[in-house]
């Protein structure tokens, strides 16, 4: 994983830990709902926190298809990339 993605992964995991009400240890393979216990409210809270942290805008249409931490990291990396290139 390139260094930029490592930083993003750390940032994403930090957000997940902050939003969760339970003590969790997310890995890239963790499923947000089945493994980490996020309900639909918390998933959207994660979205808002990620937007603030990375200065991006995450389309709500993409949210239901995003299941694992790795998918979240990929999406954030793509949006951060678009922001810096665009």
């Amino acid at each position: 994983m390139p260094p930029a993605s490592v930083a993003i992964a750390e940032g994403v995991i930090g957000v997940l830990k902050n939003v969760s009400r339970r003590p969790i240890e997310p890995t890239l393979a963790s499923d947000l709902v089945a493994d980490l216990g996020f309900d639909s409210l918390q998933v959207l809270e994660v979205v808002a926190e990620l937007e603030d942290r990375f200065d991006i805008s995450i389309p709500l249409d993409d949210v239901p298809a995003t299941r694992t931490v790795a998918q979240v990291v990929d999406q954030v990396a793509r949006l951060v990339g678009e922001r810096s290139n665009g």
């Binding site: 499923d31 709902v33 709500l60 239901p64 298809a65």
Partner: protein, 573 residues
């Protein structure tokens, strides 16, 4: 009070006023006057008539966005047809299971048509074979016939709306309301014993329109009084709760309702720096209902937002349910929540609400008095009225009691007896004011939504390793918060318990957006059945609460042993 009128008549009246809906979505803001909404609804009505639908036919409306949803709802009604609001899918990840659930509703209701988004039309066409009555599946965008007013007009006692809520799929249960029902309730809400709506009022809402409080309270309420309404998507609020308060600030909103959890989300998630731009001084009615109301939440909200002009006297804790259109009781305006501290011992042992002295207690909020021309009473198990301060089932009577469950005469007869609607909720009366303290029925309530255990059970019973006849779901009251959701599943021995736990959580999360707090995988034979074949949910729940379900397969990790919390509200059984 205004004379009873049909939904199309209310729309026609509103179309003569200088008012309308403002639809917010992201940065986009669209204003549609009621005259424009009516014009668009005429197109829908004409299109459906031209497609061959006949007076009284049921039309399922599966649209998540507010503007198409409302336009279709009114158009269906103008054509003399009956709109049924169905839950739209949250995403595409579990679409086939969603369709399976929804096809059951379409089949049981005998729906003649489905109006949905262009993207979902092929999916619904795919299940039309299972629904013999279904003759038309169409995209909202293609309902573009000329806006000629249809000849058909509904009568006051025709069904105006059938609401299928999120949890009503295993045994489809559509709440059927007549135009007279709707008018009676909405006018009482707006009237002198309700919100005292005036020409200065403006409603702001993020509530989903397939929710009674969202549709009747926040969309039809403004329409029937020809006042403006600002509607935003629920997801926008949940993502950033401050957006609700910003909309109230920007539009100088005066009326807004939400379940308890929404006030809690604002306290927890609105940041100090966000307070700067807010001004909530125009907000004169902050309604709270649809789920148990926690005095601590209201107090914390009032404290946090007092410095941006919020007044605790704006709070209007109220009681109601979809089977009663929406509202049943309202407290007097501008008083602030009235609280009573009740002894838990007296409630559980004597079923009486005695003021607490030294023993364990629970604080309960008054939901006020019955609306004019409506009645509330507390009854024992036989249905006989109980005196003040006795705890029993809440019964309601009056013009807002639903016409019935759509095409379910037996269920209707069980629920409405001698003109009294049996709500399944527990409460007591004190000086004519209603205090709600629990529920008789097995509903699970999380974040303002009611889930039927049967739906959760049905949703997971085909997963690998799960014995089809051995699944039980229930909610466990969690001190002052949402219910903890528990699923108990018998294992057929063909899948690893860990995999089953994960699959159950994933399925329920995908279908209902709900997290299952605890999954217990148990050996076959644990879940008992009655002689009529019903699962003994209460018995399994009692075993769970006594900690008797952990062997031999164990309970999901992260689970905490259930405790009897200090503030738990006692259940009747």
């Amino acid at each position: 009070m205004a004379d009873p009128r049909t939904m199309p008549d209310a729309l026609a009246e509103a179309a003569r006023a200088d008012a309308g809906y403002t639809f917010l979505s992201g940065n986009v803001e669209r204003y549609r006057s009621y005259a424009e909404v009516r014009q668009a609804s005429c197109r829908v009505a004409r299109s459906l008539v031209e497609a061959g639908l006949r007076r009284g036919d049921l039309v399922a409306v599966v649209l998540a966005d507010a503007e198409p949803f409302l336009t279709t709802l009114f158009g269906v009604s103008m054509a003399g047809l009956v709109p049924a609001s169905l839950y739209a899918p949250a995403g595409t990840s579990e679409l086939s299971r969603y369709l399976e659930l929804t096809a059951r509703i379409l089949r049981a209701s005998g729906a003649k048509a489905v109006v949905t988004t262009a993207a979902l039309v092929p999916a619904f066409e795919g299940v039309s074979g299972q629904c013999p009555a279904l003759a038309l599946t169409t995209a909202y965008d293609s309902l573009d016939a000329p806006a000629i007013e249809p000849d058909a007009r509904p009568a006051l006692d025709d069904i105006a709306l059938v609401q299928y809520t999120s949890g009503s799929t295993s045994a489809p249960k559509g709440v059927a309301l007549s135009h007279r029902n709707l008018s009676a309730n909405v006018d009482a809400i707006n009237g002198p014993a309700g919100l005292m709506t005036t020409s200065a009022d403006l409603a702001v809402s993020w509530l989903p329109l397939n929710h009674d409080m969202g549709l009747v309270g926040m969309a039809l309420g403004p329409l029937y009084s020809a006042r403006p309404g600002v509607l935003m998507p629920a997801a926008a609020f949940v993502k950033r709760p401050v957006e609700w308060l910003r909309a109230l600030t920007r539009f100088r909103g005066t009326v807004s309702f939400a379940p308890n959890f929404a006030y809690d989300l604002c306290v927890r998630r609105v940041k100090d720096r966000d307070l700067d731009g807010l001004d909530l001084s125009s907000w004169r009615v902050a309604g709270c209902g649809a789920e148990p109301i926690h005095p601590d939440t209201l107090a914390a909200f009032a404290e946090t937002f007092a410095r941006v002009g919020f007044r605790a006297t704006s709070f209007l804790p109220s009681y109601g349910l979809a089977e009663h259109v929406l509202a049943a009781t309202f407290p007097p305006r501008n008083r602030g929540p009235r609280l009573e501290q009740i002894s838990l011992r007296s409630m559980t042992d004597e079923r009486r609400a005695s003021p607490a002295r030294e023993d364990r207690s629970v604080t309960i909020v008054s939901c006020g008095c019955a609306l004019p021309d409506h009645q509330v009473r507390i009854a024992d198990d036989a249905g006989d009225p109980l005196p003040d301060r006795s705890v029993g089932e809440i019964l309601l009577a009056g013009p807002s009691v639903m016409a019935g469950y759509y095409r379910e005469p037996e269920l209707t007869a069980q629920t409405i007896r001698g003109g009294w609607l049996h709500t399944g909720d527990l409460g007591y009366l004190s000086d004519g004011e209603l205090f709600v303290c629990g529920r008789v029925k097995d509903l699970i309530i999380v974040n303002g939504r009611k889930y039927h255990p049967q739906d959760l059970e049905w949703a997971v019973d085909d997963l690998a390793g799960v014995r089809r006849t051995g699944v039980v779901a229930f909610g466990v009251a969690d001190a002052g918060r949402a219910d903890r959701v528990v699923v108990v599943a018998e294992s057929s021995g063909t899948a690893a318990p860990d995999a089953m736990i994960e699959a159950i959580r994933k399925r329920v999360g995908d279908l209902f957006g709900l997290y299952v707090d605890d999954v217990a995988i148990v050996p076959g034979g644990t879940v008992g059945r009655t002689t009529s074949g019903k699962v003994q949910r209460a018995a399994v729940k009692a075993m769970y609460e006594r900690g008797e379900l952990a062997k031999p397969y164990g309970v999901s990790k992260g689970a905490t042993p259930p405790t009897t919390a200090e503030h738990d509200v006692p259940h009747s059984r």
